[in-house]
């Protein structure tokens, strides 16, 4: 009789602890679900307080939970869309920055000599000649690279989007005489157009 009572008590206790465990699991699931919803809403409505990486990490964590709640599933879809847009914007910005860096590097290369180093050096040599005779000699040397005295020279003074502003166009002969007279070589080659003989037939300069 005692044994039966004891077994009966034990069965009742096992049943109630299972029930408690189930209840605990349900509570934990409810908590997880509530937390997941809060986190997902925070991701969707974030105004810049979290980094994209943080948000992506949080979303991945929530997805790993495999929650069956339909609202969570819907919020996951929304969060994925939001993060995809943000990721695309970040990638676009990175690409723009990369292109800007490349453009600046190209412009720097042009400004600092680069492929036009020889022409820039010949311009500087005219400006720094010690007297008229040696300046004239440097002009003769420089002229060898050009198709003729009247090769047009454009000096870019400003560039604002598509709008380019130049100084009054001049010719290479006049420009070389200008730097001889002024004893300064304020511009560098931005572009040079060559003819079939490899001589410069158009020169574009920019302020150093």
């Amino acid at each position: 009789m005692m044994l039966i009572v004891s077994l009966g008590a034990s069965f009742t206790s096992c049943k109630s602890s299972k029930k408690a465990a189930k209840k605990k699991a349900a509570m934990e699931l409810a908590e997880k679900t509530a937390k997941a919803k809060t986190d997902l809403l925070a991701i969707i409505n974030d105004d810049g307080r979290m980094t994209l990486e943080e948000k992506e990490f949080k979303l991945a964590t929530i997805k790993r939970m495999n929650l069956e709640d339909q609202e969570v599933k819907d919020l996951i879809v929304q969060a994925e869309e939001v993060l995809a847009r943000e990721r695309a914007a970040v990638e676009r910005k990175k690409e723009e920055e990369r292109m800007q860096r490349e453009k600046e590097a190209r412009e720097r290369e042009l400004r600092e000599g680069g492929q036009f180093r020889a022409i820039n050096q010949s311009l500087d040599a005219v400006a720094s000649a010690s007297d008229v005779a040696s300046a004239n000699a440097r002009i003769r040397e420089a002229m060898a690279a050009f198709a003729g005295d009247d090769v047009p020279v454009l000096i870019l003074i400003s560039s604002d989007g598509d709008i380019k502003d130049y100084d009054r166009p001049t010719t290479i002969r006049k420009y070389l005489e200008f730097i001889k007279d002024q004893k300064k070589s304020p511009n560098k080659v931005l572009n040079a157009v060559l003819d079939n003989n490899g001589k410069i037939k158009e020169l574009e300069l920019i302020k150093k």
């Binding site: 008229v132 003074i157 604002d160 502003d165 005489e177 007279d181």
Partner: protein
Amino acid sequence: MIFSAGNTWAQDDISPSRKQAIDSLALEKVRDLSKYISIVGNKDTPWSEANRVIERTLELFADGALMGVSSLSKEEVNYYGVREYLERLMALNYDKVNISWYNIQYISDLERQPDGRYVGVITIYQRFEGTTEEGLRYVDVTKKDVTVYVERKTTQISGRIIGFWDVLLGDIRVSETKPG
């Protein structure tokens, strides 16, 4: 071939960076003139060089521009055409001539006129020093106001239309002359 842009330059609003570049361009032209004047005035400049520089100098000016000339010995200021002024400068009866310009700055910013040109005034100080063969020195400092005209024009180069700013200097008026 150069065309005046006239109505094709419809934008009244020029961005600050473009405006700054145009302001600097006009100031540079005045600095260039300063150098040319010192070359023409310098007795060490070969005659052919001085004449070549005169031609370059004339390209800086608008047609009919006048240059004011003053001296400490006379009240009045004489005005000459630019070529005449430069030729007189070349022929000055000194053994040595040294001319320098400094404090070159705008006193009246470039402002758009009804005809589309921009007009401003740049002031400069000129120090003139002439020394005779006998060693007598004449030195004066003159404050001069240079009117500058800036106009947007276009030209065609290798089939492309190029927009440029044409800076031309107008009259140079003397506003003050003092011993140096």
